[in-house]
Subunit: 379 residues, 2 copies
């Protein structure tokens, strides 16, 4: 059995951060009812990437909202709010990612929900937590990356700020909310207590940088410096980086410079002492020039048997063509209620040797209204 | 009370991925006993970043291992292994991140531990899960980024692969393991069942790309294309990116091009239709040129009142000098047993309005042996 079976989550959240948390809880077996505004629904339904429309809606929406139900209800209407409260009274978890004050104005603050469901777990993600100057700003991923200095860690020294090309802050905040809710759920079972669980994208972005921030604080407050070329981590020495070869690229993680020099027959590198941090630009330059002289596989054939931490650099076409990838069964085919079927990823967690999969696709707006009304409201 | 109080985790894991999971469980209130090899301990103790040594050990180790105990024991010796088993028999969770086969050879596989602790939750992180060709390779972050195509999402079109400058795959795998363990813990309480929870860095890296992979699969299998300049997400249209201004940088997330054109008084942009995806390079070029004509604050003063999603781009010095950051109290001072004290980050999750903090620093190797032997072994 999946760990969260028979467990009910009512999720008001939109876009990515909150919905990614409830997706994980759905993967783990919970029943997730997505609350949406009639007419438009989650704005993410029309947040297209690469202009791709799948069954009338965005690929982003379909990815994040598989395995959920949709209940469309205009809860700003007092009568509808009363109906919704009958559902909330039966939920194990209520969650949202509105800006501060929105749920309070609707009459669905933690206190309000606790009045009708005393042991509820009430989870929320805000953009900026209690930050006095920023707390009313939109919690958008790129803006969070920019405001938390994350953009100064990728790319090379002269590149200026380089954002990470995925919604990393959304996803981490979602992961943290899922952790907090799961821990609170355990406490609810053992101690019969509800909980309020709060996460902010701002603090999740700081937590992501826990190593670099701690290093910064204890290293005299000098700004992180990326290497001039082949940077992969501002605080790590050579060879850490990705290098061009004759026909592609080679990734090199930590490794002894003299050992590398001898394996690669790179004489210019032999003069360098064991990974001296201050010489990393020079070391990387020599390596970069030398590695261009042969193809990637040539270097891998030398380095892998010597247990050097190295790898080729794949793109999606190369990756998904691999037989090894197919063995993993990391993709799953899911189906919507109207029969539309699409290929997406599955949960990365395996429990008791089994992957947590489900063939249920994303919901059409309001598709589960009738069932939910019968089960929770008109009863 | 913290949710996981009175809950015992015995953690064999090293480096970053596993220890980041047990740090989160420690934050949530669990007691974490770190098992280390006498003499050297967790190799992370000497994995220096920026050559920084804090109280004889690396800043990375101190960051990830605060709020844990250390039990140094040579469990490859049969007698010592028997002692260790007395501790494992009392653990709620046993976890590790060794390469496949290591725990089996020692005699501490899931089956072995279940024999002495039938309801144990046994968690593990591997590099590559069941991948037939890669499963014996080292699970190192940069190599995982390279093998899972993650490096083709950041940077500009002509940059080649650009890694994310943080150990993102380690951290996500740690977050997923923590989620799986927490869910299993809930099921243990409700259904009196143990569990094996397995995560791989490979699958965590795929999960991180769930949106882009799903888009790729449903978009005809074309490789993601980053914009020529100002890229922040290969699949998003203009203006999404970071732009140079007269004195710094400005981040712009999603926004209507005609509205932006008129607010910024950028005539050249007025000719462009609403965010046409195929014109994103041209739009970004015009924006990039225009935004260099004024300082960052000038643009923010125009855009913020109009509710455009924008932000300045801070570095650590600017960020930590802000009064707003200080209000958040995101840093905490922790102290080691020998009195050495250092500043680091705290858990990003807030429960019942309280942050989960602890003043306990990282452990010296084997510092808790005596106490642990008395409490669990000689009893």
């Amino acid at each position: 059995m999946k760990p969260l079976e028979d467990y009910l989550i009512v999720d008001f959240s939109q876009f990515l951060s909150g919905p990614s948390a409830s997706l994980r809880l759905a993967d783990l077996g919970a029943r997730v009812i997505k609350i949406e505004k009639p007419g438009t629904g989650d704005i993410c339904r029309t947040l297209y990437t690469s202009d791709l429309i799948m069954n009338g809606e965005s690929s982003v929406f379909h990815t994040i909202n598989r395995n959920k139900e949709s209940f469309a209800i205009d809860f700003k209407q007092p009568e509808e709010l009363q109906k919704l409260k009958k559902l909330l009274a039966k939920a194990d978890v209520v969650m949202h990612n509105f800006r501060p004050g929105v749920m309070e104005r609707i009459g669905l603050s933690y206190e309000d929900v606790k009045n009708i469901n005393s042991n509820v777990i009430y989870g929320s993600i805000s953009g900026f937590g209690e930050h006095p100057d920023l707390k009313d700003l939109p919690g958008q991923d790129l803006l969070l990356q920019s405001l938390t200095a994350l953009t100064w860690l990728s790319g090379n020294q002269e590149d200026g700020p380089v954002p990470m090309g995925l919604s990393i802050v959304d996803m981490l905040a979602g992961a943290h909310l899922a952790q907090g809710i799961l821990a609170a759920l355990y406490r609810k079972t053992t101690h019969n207590m509800g909980a309020q669980v709060q996460v902010s994208m701002l603090e999740s972005a700081f937590d992501f940088q826990f190593e670099t921030i701690t290093t910064y604080f204890n290293d005299g407050g000098e700004l992180p410096v990326r290497t001039k070329t082949n940077n992969a981590h501002a605080y790590l020495g050579a060879p850490y980086g990705i290098y061009k070869t004759k026909n592609g690229y080679l990734a090199l993680a930590m490794g002894s410079i003299p050992v590398l020099a001898s394996l690669l027959k790179c004489d210019a590198l032999l003069a360098f002492p064991e990974n001296k941090f201050t010489l990393r630009d020079e070391i990387k330059n020599i390596l970069a020039e030398h590695l261009q002289t042969q193809e990637t596989q040539f270097w891998l054939d030398i380095l892998e048997p010597a247990d050097i931490w190295c790898a080729g650099v794949l793109n999606y076409q190369q990756l998904f063509a691999e037989d090894g990838f197919k063995v993993l069964n990391f993709t799953q085919q899911v189906e919507m209620l109207d029969g539309y079927s699409y290929k997406t990823t599955r949960c990365p967690i395996k429990i008791d040797g089994e992957y947590l999969t489900s063939g249920k696709g994303s919901p059409k707006l309001g598709q589960d209204n009738e069932k939910i009304i019968k089960e929770f409201i008109d009863c």
